[in-house]
């Protein structure tokens, strides 16, 4: 267990270095001059002299390897550099925005877990009957509706028409309901489908047939007997989705005016703000790796086969 953890943590370093380098190279390869973009906000078009002065000020006149090494050197001390466009320290900006994204992701994950398991179990329990078919139809809808459209529909219904919830903004749980519902929609559907299929596979096994023959009720069979065995792949799926939710909430954050790291990344891409982008990639990469680690540990706890690494008892 300890060795496994150390091995996982050690693998974090090359992964993070690799993704930071990839982010830097992609930034350099993409068209657009950061100095020009830093000056040309609000429709203003800077002159060539202004651009050159700003490029020097931003250290962009140094060779690329020097720029990258400078950044890595500072990153090791926790300094992710200053954003080209806002001139604020990137670490500080990410620190300010991360709680918003975390709050959104945790809310969305709670919804996805609860909804996914509930729908998946119900569908499996009523296999082939109308509740199953209804749930399948809802899940297909959830998977096929684009997030931005769902967001606009929910705002139109619950905020603009009914006035039950705020349209946007950062605040308490009430402000998170709509964005979390949108963000969790596809994950919830995937989790529900996976739960259903895993459950059905388990329910077809002999121990379930035997239990059923002994007169155990349908719900008891699903929840007490089949679900503990069927849940491992669902936990892995949900864990990996959390990483996606943390890094991929760009559209949701933008529509619901949530100042999280997703909207920060979007601004950084538009402004060719390399330090901000590298900081974002590094952070989401680290979080992703950490979550994968947690999911592995959770899988070990839930499934003895994973814990024992194939060894016989």
């Amino acid at each position: 267990m300890g060795r496994y953890l150390i091995h996982k943590l050690a693998s974090l370093v090359p992964v993070l270095l690799g993704i930071s380098l990839a982010a830097f190279v992609l930034g350099v390869l993409s068209l657009g001059d950061p100095a020009e973009l830093a000056l040309s906000q609000g429709g203003y078009e800077p002159t060539q002299e202004q651009i050159q002065a700003m490029a020097h000020q931003m250290g962009l006149d140094a060779p690329y390897p020097v720029q990258y090494l400078r950044w890595v050197g500072r990153a090791l001390t926790g300094d992710l550099g200053d954003s080209y466009s806002s001139r604020m320290p990137v670490a500080q900006e990410l620190g300010r925005r991360l709680p918003v994204t975390l709050k959104l992701a945790v809310c969305a994950m709670a919804l996805a877990c609860a909804g996914g398991l509930l729908l998946g179990c119900t569908a499996a329990a009523f296999r082939g009957r109308w509740p199953d078919r209804l749930i399948q139809a809802v899940l297909n809808l959830q998977l096929s509706i684009p997030a931005f459209w769902l967001a606009l529909l929910l705002i139109l219904l619950f905020a603009e028409t009914l006035g039950w919830l705020p349209t946007s903004g950062n605040g308490g749980l009430r402000y998170m309901i709509l964005p979390a519902s949108v963000l969790s929609s596809a994950t919830m559907a995937t989790a529900a489908r996976l739960t259903r299929s895993s459950l059905l596979a388990e329910l077809g096994r002999q121990y379930c047939t035997a239990a059923s023959a002994r007169g155990i009720g349908r719900w008891r069979l699903v929840l007490r007997n089949a679900l503990p065995n069927a849940i491992v792949p669902v936990v892995a799926l949900l864990g990996n989705s959390l990483g996606g939710m943390l890094g991929g909430s760009v559209i949701v954050e933008s529509i619901f005016a949530l100042p999280g790291i997703g909207s920060y990344a979007l601004e950084a891409i538009n402004n060719r703000d390399y330090p901000a982008l590298q900081g974002y990639v590094l952070l989401t990469g680290a979080v992703y790796v950490a979550i994968t680690l947690l999911v592995d540990i959770l899988s070990m706890l839930l499934d003895p086969k994973v814990r024992l690494g194939g060894r016989k008892i």
Partner: protein, 530 residues
């Protein structure tokens, strides 16, 4: 057994989360989460004039300490020495009066007396000098305009205090139109105490305006409070909260649901949404001239647009009023002049559109052949697609087949720089009312846009007129030069202008004084309707 126990715990946790979720969510209780401003005390028969007014824009109007200006002019927190009237002519603000020396190299500004900054310090010549010292440290980037002393004060040799309320600027070259460079963002004044040694703000900025910032939650909202010690007429509203809602549809929903009472800033509301409010007595629209002009750039470094007749043909083949009416719902004014209509130097020219003449001109250049060109447009602006389709249908009639290519703006500019395009849809804002910058950039052979957009435009007459204008101390001579350059632009088309934009904002009719101005709205006049 053990794993089952763990599983039960996990399941209980999930169920508990669901319960919490349904209680907090479906219960619909707004609870005491955080101080959500109650924007609309609509049910009350009498309106509290001091109730908070909530507005929203698409971006941070107060980007904070690292921004060269801390906040936009439209928040009325800081004031400039020189501002502008509705026709974009320079008028006094913190400078009460001014005079130019006979040779045009010295400008003396007489400052308004009895003005105090929000922190209680006096506004005087020392404060102005401190602001100039700060501008001289380095170019400060900003979400609005770069704070660059060389751009706002070209050829400035020195600035000096003459007495407590007089400041003199000396230039190495005659600067007869210097006032235009200083309008609004060109001469923003802050209390010297709010800068650190690098010239960055050390906290919330302190200006002399009718509002002061009491709270600035970046990317969420900025809270403004009336400054009772204002030198002029105090603001009507006591507090105004300006939220950041980047998405236009969400802003629109927030307006309709009463969460916000008005939208401000650039891109406040798309025309397609604005028309939905027409006829709704709860909301009103306010429009004024915008400083933005929309145009097509043609790659003049290559055939066929290196021939002026082809550029003329393109301009004549367009039906600009169809574009403004059908794509922009009437919120635009067709033009063929490169200069935006918000400057007092603007001259009106008839918009000549004649398909038959366009066909003749194009035929002379193409010799009966057809040509295929790439038409680049900004893929992030939905309306540009429809506009491009309209334009390409008209151009196909004069022998030009367009391959439409939506692009991200930055990449598009890079492609234009390489000259690998035929037509591109661009826009340009007017940073100040002095049009020399626009002419220089688009029409001088060495102009940066002329080169970066591969316009390939060259005119000895324009070069000579620009020299003459920059040497002229007499405004009439300068105006005559500018008139002629505008006329040339409508004949030779360094770019093919489409239309001048309109600033469009929407607000709830619970408010009064919500009138669009050339730059934002006059926030101090906004109040609850009694």
């Amino acid at each position: 057994m053990e794993s089952k126990k763990k599983f039960c715990k996990l399941l209980s946790l999930l169920l508990a989360l669901t319960l919490v979720w349904s209680l907090t969510g479906c219960g619909g209780s707004p609870a005491a989460e955080e101080p959500v401003p109650d924007a609309a005390p609509a049910a009350e028969s009498t309106v509290d004039p001091d109730a908070e007014i909530v507005l929203a824009g698409y971006r941070n109007l107060a980007p904070g300490e690292k921004d060269g200006y801390y906040c936009s002019k439209i928040l009325y927190v800081w004031e400039p020495l020189v501002t502008q009237d509705d026709n974009a002519a320079p008028v006094p603000c913190l400078a009460e009066d001014w005079e130019m020396s006979e040779d045009g190299t010295q400008w003396t500004f007489f400052l308004r007396q009895g003005v105090k900054f929000h922190d209680g310090t006096d506004f005087n010549a020392d404060a102005v000098i401190a602001n100039f010292d700060r501008m001289g440290i380095e170019v400060k980037s900003s979400s609005f305009y770069p704070l660059d002393i060389n751009s706002h004060y070209p050829n400035l040799e020195k600035y000096e205090k003459v007495d407590d309320y007089t400041v003199r600027l000396t230039f190495s070259q005659p600067a007869p139109t210097q006032l235009y460079n200083m309008v609004n963002f060109g001469s923003a004044m802050y209390s010297p105490g709010c800068f650190d040694e690098n010239g960055d703000f050390n906290g919330i900025c302190v200006g002399t305006g009718p509002f002061k910032i009491t709270e600035n939650k970046l990317d969420e909202y900025v809270l403004l409070e009336r400054f009772d010690g204002y030198w002029g007429e105090t603001a009507k509203a006591k507090t105004i909260r300006v939220k950041v809602i980047p998405d236009a549809d969400t802003r629109f929903s927030a307006l309709k649901s009463g969460e916000i009472l008005g939208v401000i800033d650039l891109n406040a509301i798309p025309t397609s949404l604005a028309v939905q409010l027409e006829g709704n007595s709860d909301f009103a629209l306010t429009t004024t001239k915008s400083t933005m002009i929309r145009f097509l750039t043609l790659n003049g470094t290559e055939f066929p647009f290196n021939d002026v007749r082809m550029r003329q043909a393109v301009s004549m083949a367009l039906q600009r009023s169809v574009i403004t009416e059908s794509v922009y719902d009437g919120f635009g004014t067709p033009t063929t002049n490169i200069l935006n209509y918000s400057t007092p130097f603007y001259k009106e020219f008839p918009v000549e559109e004649d398909l038959e003449k366009a066909k003749e001109l194009a035929n002379e250049v193409l010799g009966g052949q057809r040509v295929t060109v790439t038409y680049l447009y900004n893929g992030n602006e939905a309306a540009q697609k429809g506009e491009a389709e309209l334009i390409s249908s008209w151009l196909s009639e004069i022998g030009i087949d367009c391959e439409l290519q939506p692009m991200e703006m930055t990449n598009m500019k890079e492609q234009m720089k390489t000259g690998d395009y035929g037509i591109a849809r661009m826009q340009q804002g007017l940073s100040n009312s002095e049009p020399a910058t626009i002419f220089r950039r688009f029409m001088l052979t060495s102009g940066d846009h002329n080169q970066n957009y591969s316009l390939g435009y060259q005119s000895d007459e324009v070069d000579a007129l620009m020299d003459e204008a920059s040497a002229a101390l007499d405004m009439d001579v300068r105006t005559a030069c500018y008139d002629r350059i505008q006329e040339i632009s409508t004949q030779e088309f360094p770019v093919v202008p489409l239309f001048n934009d309109m600033t469009l904002m929407a607000y709830s009719t619970k408010l009064t004084g919500y009138d669009a101005k050339l730059y934002g709205i006059e926030l101090p006049l906004v109040a609850w309707k009694q």
